[in-house]
């Protein structure tokens, strides 16, 4: 058993070590005669890349604060190992699969000259009118989205999976779920993109895909031992609050960075992001105050997240007033979804589906009703011709959501079975009781609790 595990890791290491041998020598992309570098747009995209990376420790803290003391490091490892694993996979082939030209009937993209990011040196692209930036920056910015998406799923099966199984799962998931979806929605020749689906910063690609996969995983892997009879209290809500704060800050990069420019679109995206997050937070604590007479800090943090998730697909097109509406709606539906979960009794431990899945779908669908006038009269006409209306767009949005839900849930289920049957995913009872920190990592989150 231990042996099997070792050889598995060995393989991985060797793979990594041998990779550079296979590298295509970085061909300098000829900078076309018309390249006009926009150092301001690049500056913002570099910043956005850093901000989205900041979301990963933010998420790690958010989740780590909610689990029990014995699982605090194991939970952080879920986010941090995504930085390591997806960070490497994205550089090797993720970018090529997501943003290369369509292959396999459009299932994914492929561009062998972009393996190992090798063909990007010297390549400038105009991602928005006038916004020429190095393709490297775009690849890195997008890579951060690939990292955070599988990390989000981890909340659904917190406190009860093997580290090995988790690593294998996210590696496979990014290859067969994330990269294709990303290609469909954001590559210029992706079929959902061509359909005209609006997904500014990842409502479908990031939040719905992770939310629905989380639900499937929670159902497949089953409840934590003791749930729901034993109370499983958060070990450190201070971390959760700090995590929520970092997520909010980082989300400016996530959403406003998705304009891939430093212009009016960027400004609008930042504005609605800020407004939706604030409204989501306010709405959630207001609901709590009505429901229980007390507003909680976890409620405020959850409301921030709901607001940020709902605005993610919508940040390109809605008005600030629309952001207020969406933020309010998101907190209501996510709050309701969590109450429902408690009734149904399945154990989506940190409510990934309730927050990301539900608010993500809400955003992707409801954004249709809050699109600013100018979009209808200009962009919509340019894209679809005269006569395109709310109901047309609603149909497109619903299609994109449905495709994402079906694809992500089916493929995730297959992957779950595969991982469970090979290296094992669900933790055995002894190690689950002892806690992931000690039994999987040989560590101890808070040494300060012992005397030393």
């Amino acid at each position: 058993m231990r042996l099997r595990s070792r050889s598995l890791w060995l393989l991985l290491v060797l793979m990594v070590l041998l990779l550079p041998a296979g590298l295509a020598l970085g061909a300098e992309g000829p900078a076309g005669g018309t390249v006009k570098p926009d150092s301001g747009a690049e500056a913002w995209m570099l910043t956005s890349t850093a901000l989205v990376l900041l979301m990963v420790p933010g998420l790690a803290l958010f989740y780590a604060g909610l689990v029990r003391t014995k699982n605090v490091l194991g939970t952080m490892m879920h986010s941090f190992s995504a930085m390591a694993i997806i960070g490497v996979l994205w550089a090797i082939c993720g970018y090529a699969m997501s943003f290369g030209p369509s292959v396999l009937h459009g299932w994914c993209g492929w561009d062998s000259s972009r393996l190992f990011l090798s063909g990007l040196d010297g390549s400038w692209k105009e991602y928005a009118p006038g916004a020429w930036i190095p393709e490297y920056v775009y690849a890195m910015f997008q890579g951060k989205f690939a990292i955070i998406t599988p990390a989000l799923i981890a909340g659904a099966f917190a406190e009860r999976v093997t580290f090995r199984g988790y690593c294998l799962f996210i590696a496979l998931w990014t290859l067969v779920v994330y990269n294709p979806l990303c290609h469909w929605v954001w590559a210029s020749d992706g079929f959902l993109n061509r359909l005209g689906a609006l997904d500014f910063a990842g409502g479908t690609v990031v939040h719905i895909s992770s939310g629905i996969s989380a639900l499937v995983a929670a159902l497949y892997l089953g409840r934590r031992r003791g749930y729901p009879s034993t109370a499983m209290s958060p070990n450190n809500l201070v971390l959760t609050m700090l995590g929520a704060g970092l997520l909010w800050v980082g989300w400016f990069g996530f959403n406003a960075g998705s304009a891939v420019a430093s212009n009016m679109d960027t400004a609008r995206a930042l504005t609605v992001t800020q407004v939706a997050a604030a409204t989501g937070a306010l709405a959630w604590i207001a609901i709590e105050a009505l429901h229980h007479g007390k507003a909680t800090s976890l409620g405020l943090a959850s409301g921030i997240l709901a607001g940020l998730v709902v605005i993610t697909p919508a940040a390109g097109v809605v008005t600030p007033a629309g952001a207020i509406a969406l933020g309010t709606i998101a907190s209501c539906v996510s709050y309701g979804a969590i109450l429902l979960k408690n009734k149904l009794g399945y154990d989506d431990s940190l409510d990934v589906f309730g927050v990301h899945g539900v608010s993500g779908m809400t955003g992707a669908i409801c954004l249709t009703f809050f699109i600013r006038q100018a979009w209808w009269t200009q962009e919509a006409v340019a894209l679809h011709g005269q006569g395109w209306n709310v109901w047309h767009q609603l149909g497109v949005q619903a299609t994109a959501v449905a495709v994402t839900v079906v694809y992500a849930s089916v493929v995730s289920l297959i992957l779950l079975v595969v991982v469970q049957k090979t290296v094992g995913f669900r933790l055995d009872e002894a190690r689950e009781r002892a806690g992931m920190d000690h039994s999987l990592h040989g560590e101890n989150g808070y040494g300060l609790l012992n005397l030393n």
């Binding site: 034993t230 109370a231 209290s233 958060p234 709590e288 429901h291 229980h292 007390k294 909680t296 976890l298 409620g299 959850s302 709050y335 969590i338 109450l339 408690n342 409510d351």
Partner: protein
Amino acid sequence: MKLITAIIQPDKLDDVREALIAAEITRITVSRCTGHGRAQGGVDTEELYRGQTVMPNLLPKVRLDIACNEAFVEITIAAILKAAKHGGGEVGDGKIFITPLEECIRIRTEERGGQAI
């Protein structure tokens, strides 16, 4: 000599400490513990977690250990009883346990017995 161990509510620690000092009991040892009493302990102990009311398995409590000579036992108990109650006494207010203490040694001076308390 007796060892008096009291389990009280955390929000009463300051009151009890002051009552003890007023009764001239100045030497105490305090530690954090958690407990489980009758009917899962008292009003308003539940917590909230995402819209759900949660009853913790174990509630935070404070433990006091006081070594004292026989003469002080009832004084100490009276001080604790007065200061540790919420209003006229609520579920969760706690317990006092008394065990025999055979010897007490002051590390600094190596004195033993009653005068070392």
